[in-house]
Symmetry: C2
Subunit: 218 residues, 2 copies
Amino acid sequence: MPKIGVLLSGCGVYDGSEIHEAVLTLLELDKQNCEVLIVAPDKAQMHVVNHLTGEVMPEEERNVLVESARIARGAITNIDSLNPTELDALVLPGGFGAAKNLCDFAVAGAEASVDTAVARLLRTVHEMGKPIAAICISPAVVAAALGEINPELTIGNDKATAEALEAMGAMHFQCPVEGFHVDKKNKLISTPAYMLGKRISDVHAGISNMVDALLDMI
Amino acid sequence: MPKIGVLLSGCGVYDGSEIHEAVLTLLELDKQNCEVLIVAPDKAQMHVVNHLTGEVMPEEERNVLVESARIARGAITNIDSLNPTELDALVLPGGFGAAKNLCDFAVAGAEASVDTAVARLLRTVHEMGKPIAAICISPAVVAAALGEINPELTIGNDKATAEALEAMGAMHFQCPVEGFHVDKKNKLISTPAYMLGKRISDVHAGISNMVDALLDMI
């Protein structure tokens, strides 16, 4: 039974993990009989966003690990307590939390810096030769953490976002919502999900196809 | 294209909608080409629970509509603005929010009272002869709102919970996680989901089967 890490960044598309992408990842991994280890950093969110209005709630403070625990139904591990050598692969769902809490790509673009524990996790998994899957905007975390390996990634079709990825050392490839891009050399796989998708069923198709391909890479 | 209401109660199993159940409901309705209208009451949550520790956060206040908007990616309607005659069916995902924010079954048991707007919505949909689907703990909302029609419901296998439902006028039927119970006379359908299920893939099977059967009842 492969053991797959799922790295969350909060709970909600505008300030945390994109909830549909995270849940559909958990569904597909469970359908394939994987053991899943959900993990998140224990730190304050960059923002709390009112998802009804889209406005930042400046008075509000929330913790990435505590909010991610909502998606995990409490079954979550602090990234600092994780032994990455346990993992056979790592998946990063999308949502602005990936670009706000795992790294600061949402505000710093190509100058993004990555959370120390997140960078260490990605480097370790990569150096072990284990595959990493990145959904939606989370290829930005991979590019920011591992730009020097010139990762091949897809992040939808927004030109400025793709250019910022390339400025960090990545090579960008467009692909449809139900598809995925594989970087064979670096054992990376990515799917655009809500960067392109309008419907949850389309996003599900892409994540389902990506999970199948990820498990073949182990 | 049938138009289906999905009534949320927040965002997180311990104080709002159970996130997996809500997302899997949205997935299955979209796969069946339904138009989905997500709706929630604009009111304070009964509790905010830290999902990492399971403890109530007494200082924290959150709004049911605003937090439900996280699952809806912002595309949500205030229950007070909804015209129920638009709907062909209504689905209630589970989570403690159903028993804390839509009604107060979590603290009042068989003496539960129902949020006024929620009670009006359930009564109107029922009186129009349209079907209502209830997942996990949310059959408690149906029993509390519509006990006088003696609804047939399933709510897992916890004896005390089933007895409290029956004390409100319901008849309880056990059914497995991948199954559902249909009350043909009253056009109600229910599935136990995480009241019984241990795995997201089992919960998905039950919700998928229930959505198929619900659409056949329209």
